[in-house]
């Protein structure tokens, strides 16, 4: 039987507000344990929450970014459960009336095509602290720095059918929230955490199968692997005639497997009820309009604009807008050199490969937009062949100077002087009589293959600087015996 995979995703996004969602404590990653938790975060007796306006604004920005309906009156609720890193014994969340209601999100797939995902809702809540199990033998430490960090929990409809779609969604989400500036979206540091609800059903069936929830998968690659192993596990069970238990599972990246969390944690009755310490969030149209007016250009709009303004392919445009840094780099380069397609090729080709090789981000690249523009311009005006261009790129990467300086220092100027090339060609022809005879005896198809030998010799003799197009032309004429 063929099986169809059905998935919905829940993403917990840490919002990059200056302070926590309900207290004035700083909201930063990586401090010493328990130094960024104030009495409110610690759930000390008598402490009360005060809502951070910036968190509300960020949630509304997100909602507008996915064309969602904004909840004009949303409320906070208490989600009750005991855990050592949950200081109050309840998490303040939004259950009954979320701030962001249904929306849709256009996700570019790797080939550049768009794929539409329905967002069910997104709500504000506070993060819990962290239990530290590996620092004290036989004991658990609690670090409450994270307690009270604002989270936006983004829930989708079960619209995903492949792991590729899920990863594309997460990448698009990452790009959206970084464009908005509401989160750094860093999965490794836990700023963006993903839970995957996954079930299988016989292909063609309408009914959903029993799902499992895979918790806290912390990289795009692990998302892909976790989906693959969990789908495989479910398929094997189903094919053995066994049923799937609805449960929460953890993905273990080291062993590449999912395993069941204790059922006790799954069976929690959270006893949600409205948080009496906070007033409802009431947003009027003027507020929403003001937030909307301040929104930056978002990835979808930018992608469309790149396609139209720069005549880029869907694929190139999608790649270039995937991060704001890349899109800005692209536009700065094009503004300087006027060559959109060539810039895209350099960025998505040599530059991406070099960054990848050295494990650098674009912000840390030794080549800035103006450097690249200098190179692109020299290839465009024929000063450099694409082959020489690669050498200049190498020089730029090593910070040897601007493209023009490198061309001068390395002596890389392309030779397009017909007279100089003709004498080179004459020398090569007279030095290789056998090959010349062979060429002249061959038919047209064979000649096309044999000419490569002569081109190679000439390029070698010119130290790669001969204009290959011109060489081809002149050589063909010379060999024809004109």
């Amino acid at each position: 039987m063929t099986w169809e995979m059905v998935m919905g995703l829940e993403v917990h996004l840490q919002l990059a507000t200056r302070s926590k969602i309900f207290s004035g404590a700083a909201n930063r990653f990586g401090a010493e344990p328990n130094v960024q938790a104030c009495a409110v975060d610690l759930g000390m007796p008598g402490m009360l929450p005060v809502l951070n306006e910036q968190a509300v604004r960020f949630a509304v920005m997100f909602g507008l970014g996915i064309d969602a309906r904004i909840g004009k009156r949303s409320i906070f609720d208490r989600k009750n459960y005991f855990y050592p890193d949950l200081p109050k014994g309840y998490q303040v969340s939004q259950f009954f009336e979320p701030i962001v209601c249904e929306g849709t999100f256009e996700v570019p797939m790797p080939d550049g095509d768009l794929f539409s995902i329905r967002i069910t809702r997104a709500h504000l809540e506070e993060d819990a602290g962290k239990s530290v199990h590996d620092r004290f033998p036989n004991q658990t430490g609690v670090d409450l720095n994270r307690a009270g960090t604002p989270l936006l929990e983004i829930v989708t409809e079960p619209d995903f059918r492949t792991a590729e779609q899920a990863v594309a969604y997460l990448k698009a989400l990452h790009s959206l929230v970084t464009y908005l500036g509401i989160s750094d979206g860093n999965m490794a540091e836990g700023s963006m955490r993903c839970d995957i609800n996954l079930s299988l059903r016989p292909a063609g069936s309408e009914a959903y199968g029993t799902r499992t929830e895979i918790k806290n998968v912390n990289s795009f690659r692990f998302v892909e692997k976790a989906i693959a192993v969990e789908a495989k596990r479910q398929q094997e069970l189903l094919e053995d005639g066994l049923s799937i238990l609805q449960e929460t599972r953890l993905y273990d990246a080291e062993r590449n497997e999912t395993r069941s969390m204790r059922s006790k944690e799954v069976a929690n009755d959270y006893r949600y009820f409205p948080e009496p310490d906070l007033l409802p969030i009431v947003l009027d149209d003027a507020y929403i309009a003001a937030v909307s007016a301040d929104l930056p250009e978002l990835p979808g709009a930018k992608r469309q604009r790149f396609i139209e303004q720069y005549q880029l392919s869907n694929y190139d445009a999608a790649q270039l807008v995937s991060s704001l840094a890349m899109a800005d780099y692209f536009e700065a380069t094009v503004t300087a050199c006027g060559e959109a397609k060539a810039t895209a090729n350099w960025m998505l080709g040599d530059l991406a490969a070099a960054l990848n090789r050295e494990n650098l981000s674009l912000e840390d690249a030794p080549i800035g937009p103006l450097d690249l523009a200098g190179l692109v311009a020299r290839v465009a005006d024929g000063t450099l062949s694409s082959k020489l261009g690669k050498q200049v790129f190498e020089g730029l990467w090593l910070r040897e100077g601007s493209a023009d300086e490198i061309i001068a220092q390395r002596g890389l100027k392309q030779v397009s002087d017909a007279g100089a090339l003709e004498s080179l060609i004459a020398t090569v022809i007279s030095n290789n009589p056998d090959q010349v005879a062979q060429y002249r005896a061959a038919d047209e198809v064979k000649q096309k293959k044999l000419i490569g030998f002569f081109v190679g010799q000439i390029m070698k003799a010119s130290k790669g600087q001969a204009n290959p197009q011109l060489v081809n032309e002149l050589l063909a004429r010379a060999l024809a015996g004109d």
Binding site: M44, R271, F273, L278
Partner: protein, 491 residues
């Protein structure tokens, strides 16, 4: 000591003596501390006495007065209910759970009263986590009623009421979630005001039921309550539910007679449930208000009885969450040698909480649990709105509502402690006022067999001024509030 009888002294009188330089705050504070030391063994009204802190604060108040500075209560000694967090001073909430808890912060009420110059003598006894109507659920044992030491002072602010009645301090703070200021004020013969929900900040008050809790003054006179309310109240950026409403000068508002004031009498407050002797005292009190120019009208509060059930769903539900933080992990009582996490939770909480607190946590947890939420919590929220509307409609016909504060006088220690329902009935006249978020004032209205009873006045939201004005006029015509318990004269 100059002409101050601590057993009956009001804050206004004490302020007069301080301002005339008849006495210093240090002398006054020392005198009250001595009285606490001498009498508290009988009353058990105070859990923690802060001799050193009080004398330091008194010295500061005297210095300020010499410089011509100081707030409206400068140098006046006061006791805080042990539910208000006091920086550096143990705050127990009368629970074993917080027996050794010293907060690093002051409640807003505490810091405001400090800023007004009040001198904190210590912390008063109460029902554990403010859950009770007799002060008997305190981990530190019951406080006793100074009018009859074998009787309870009421609760939950029983220690505060007993302390003011016995003259251990002219002022004390209380909190009122379902009658916890007004019922003990009634049983101890003092004046107690529960302000409108949102009038006084809840920041730093150990939460029982967040949507109902409200702090207020417990005093001998309405005049003192007006002074103290001004010092306590106002918008607090640390409490999102505190109200951004204008704060009148309540002391100025005491002036003027009651001509044209319409006082509503809900028939539900004068039913057969009410002790006939109490009913008679209330009728006497109403005659005094009429004599001041008020007119009496009948009003209807048809869901008074449902108030109890509603309250006993909402308050425990909120409490079940508010008390979840006492888990033995970060602060408060932790059991010895827990075998695992569940054991740590179960034993720390079983040992740290008394039986009434445990009962309410269980009731509240049940009311919120899957499958019961709609039938209990949601229904209670709906009834709460209906009760609130009942009051709104009643206030179309009147300006104040009057009735008893409690169904009877103080009862013997132990008389109701094994009958939770009988105990819950103590609050039948008060807790619907909390559900509606309205201000309520209990005024001494005479004695029955030597034990006080209270008249309750209920006002419109944020109209404490009218409430206090009526109460003050009543006290100008009567001397119930001047009666001191026989106990108070000992020393």
């Amino acid at each position: 000591m100059p002409d101050i009888n601590l057993a009956t002294a009001t804050a206004a009188e004490v302020l007069g003596a301080l301002n005339n330089r008849d006495i210093s705050s240090v002398e006054l504070t020392q005198a009250y501390l001595s009285r606490v030391d001498a009498l508290n063994g009988h009353l058990n009204a105070v859990i923690t006495v802060d001799h050193e802190g009080a004398l330091t604060a008194a010295k500061d108040a005297d210095d300020a007065r010499h410089r011509g500075e100081g707030g409206i209560l400068n140098g006046v000694p006061l006791l805080h209910k042990d539910i208000f967090c006091t920086s550096g001073l143990r705050t127990t909430c009368a629970s074993r759970m917080l027996e050794n808890f010293t907060p690093p912060y002051d409640a807003t009420v505490v810091s405001k009263l400090k800023a007004a110059g009040a001198v904190t003598l210590g912390k008063t006894n109460m029902d554990e986590f403010a859950m009770g109507s007799s002060n008997e659920t305190s981990y530190f044992g019951p406080a006793h009623n100074p009018w009859d030491l074998s009787c309870v002072p009421g609760g939950s602010s029983g220690g505060s009421a007993a302390a003011v009645a016995a003259g251990l301090a002219p002022l004390s703070t209380g909190t009122d979630t379902g009658g916890s200021i007004r019922q003990p004020a009634s049983l101890c013969g003092i004046t107690g005001l529960k302000p409108t929900y949102g009038r006084v900040s809840r920041f730093g008050i150990i939460a029982f039921a967040s949507s109902l809790d409200q702090a207020g003054p417990m005093t001998r006179t309405v005049e003192d309550a007006a002074l103290m309310l001004n010092a306590m109240c106002g918008l607090d950026p640390h409490d999102s539910t505190s109200a951004d409403m204008p704060v009148p000068n309540f002391h100025d508002a005491l002036r003027g007679d009651l001509k044209g004031l319409r006082i509503g009498l809900p028939k539900q407050y004068f039913s057969e449930l009410l002790d006939v002797r109490v009913a008679n005292r209330i009728q006497d009190a109403l005659k005094e208000l009429e004599a001041e120019g008020a007119t009496l009208v009948d009003v209807d509060l048809p869901h008074t009885q449902e108030g109890i059930a509603t309250y006993y769903v909402i308050a425990p539900a909120e409490a079940s969450a508010n008390l979840a933080r006492y888990d033995g992990v970060r602060f408060g009582h932790r059991c010895d040698d827990p075998t695992d996490l569940m054991d740590l939770y179960a034993r720390s909480r079983s040992e740290g909480f008394g039986s009434e607190v445990q009962r309410r946590i269980l009731v509240g947890t049940y009311a919120l649990s899957a499958g019961f939420y709609d039938a209990y919590f949601k229904k209670a929220q709906q009834v709460r709105r209906i009760i609130s509307n009942d009051f709104k409609q009643a206030f179309d016909q009147c300006d104040l509502i009057a009735g008893p504060s409690a169904p009877g006088v103080a009862f013997s220690v132990g008389a109701k402690s094994h009958d939770p329902i009988a105990m819950y009935m103590e609050d039948v006249y008060t807790l619907s006022v909390n559900l509606a978020g309205l201000p309520g004032l209990s005024l001494p209205a005479g004695l029955i067999n030597g034990l006080p009873i209270g008249l309750q006045l209920i006002g419109r939201a944020f109209d404490e001024a009218t409430l206090l004005q009526a109460g003050h006029r009543f006290q100008l015509r009567t001397d119930h509030h001047r009666l001191a318990p026989p106990f108070g004269e000992i020393s």
